[in-house]
Symmetry: C2
Subunit: 244 residues, 2 copies
DNA sequence: GACTAAAATATGTCTAGACATATTATCCAG
DNA sequence: CTGGATAATATGTCTAGACATATTTTAGTC
């Protein structure tokens, strides 16, 4: 059993769909037909077809059968790597510096209000560099009620993202991506002209309903491209299951 | 059987993980223990735990057991809706106009070269409006070898994205998001000042290895925010399975 | 014809096993 | 003490059924 049968079945069905041989709307063979074709139990073909359904390649309807789904670009996988890893993956030298750190009384207005934090917060501003040049300015607010140990962490040595990842569990996150012209302060920090087009990535992170941290990274427009890849099939043509 | 048992098990395990009661690295109960606890067959608990693994909540290792995964913000779901739906969802009036249409000989340089198209292509430039104001300028190239019927389609009446979705199957897509300052031509089309920060979404779409279309949408910076939501668990607290 | 009840049927869920496979722990020999 | 063979064990895959559930088709009734 070099290759599990259910993966082989998934891959063969996925190939028919992706090649266009089975167009959207086409009813793929019933489970009992696949059972006969592959000479296996229904649970096996069911697992194969269910995987295609999970990948969005087919829609299943009781009594009616399973149908090739209409293609739709509705969701893409946006990979947001750790800044340091991102910079080093480009073969550039990574640099990090803490610009500002202060304790802040509770407040709930603005972007940060989405965290619904009640207690005091730690506010950090730091800068990441690639080959010495400013790569991104990060503004971060950490809810000390959710992460008390952050108050004594050494954020001059460790970037807040890396520290939080290692110390605090989270359950939900939301990202927002926007373009904006750099204001004078930001322009100074990023070493660009005021008004220069920048990409801003904002992220809120929660655990349960409790806000943990809000973060805003601003990149000079030409320094960073967010890349999102999407494949409707989770199955490569070689039968390997790709991660979604 | 109001709620399938395997979903109930998944939801209960997910709740323990998300609450922090089972921290990253914690070994969740063995399948035979869950089998005893829930009084069901191993296939049922296996399906439940496998779903958690697929959702990235746990890592499974033979002989060792299943362990709560380290949380990581590595991938987010970027939802990119149809422009018309997006505008209308905001309660604004949608407008569309075709600015330019021409047949182009094959060429393979630049962004478009990623399509690896051999034959002639159709090049379109169009503009989408929200409440009368420019919302985005779309530049699109369609590979006529992959979609011959595009040559006779009426893109003055139907936006190319909607037309392609209905007429051409695709298998892979890639998005790129960047910020840039508007050049004079773009600034005129978007009715903003030259240099104004804009958000640019570029998308390439393939079927198999064959490029179908390349698209570039540029939004005035303040008009559009891309939103990506991420939850490590595919299971809501109510046991419902959320889509990934 | 329109509406309703019943039969048919494909998928959804689940069981109680079996054997395969990867990995860890153990024990033994050198 | 170290390296390697061996045993133990948790997950991975699969079978051959069973019953549940949703939906469509069919048959029957008003």
């Amino acid at each position: 059993m070099r290759q599990p049968l259910h993966l082989r079945i998934s891959a063969e069905l996925a190939a028919k769909i992706r090649s266009g041989e089975w167009p959207p709307g086409y009813r793929i063979p019933f489970e009992h037909e696949l059972t006969a074709r592959y000479g296996c139990a229904r649970a096996t073909v069911s697992k194969a077809v269910e995987a295609l359904a999970a990948a969005g390649l087919v829609d299943r309807r009781r009594r009616a059968g399973s149908f090739v789904a209409q293609p739709h670009v509705e969701a893409a996988i946006l990979e947001i790597a750790d800044i340091q890893a991102e910079v080093e993956a480009r073969g550039q030298a990574y640099g990090y510096e803490l610009l500002s750190r202060r304790l802040r009384p509770p407040r709930a207005e603005g972007d940060e209000g989405r965290l619904k934090a009640q207690g005091p917060a730690l506010q950090l501003i730091c800068r990441h560099r690639a080959n010495g040049r400013p790569f991104t300015v990060e503004e971060r607010v950490i809810n000390l009620a959710a992460a008390p140990s952050a108050e004594t962490a050494d954020f001059a040595a460790t970037a807040p993202g890396a520290w939080l990842l290692a110390h605090v569990a989270w359950s939900e996150a939301e990202h927002r991506i926007a373009a904006l012209g750099a204001d004078p302060v930001l322009a100074g920090l990023l070493a660009v002209a005021p008004g220069h087009a920048c990409l801003r990535l904002t992220r809120w992170t929660w655990r349960g309903g409790e806000g943990i941290t809000a973060m805003r990274q601003t990149f000079p427009g030409e320094a960073y491209n967010l890349v999102a890849r999407f494949t409707p099939a989770a199955f490569g043509s070689d039968g390997t299951k790709t991660t979604i």
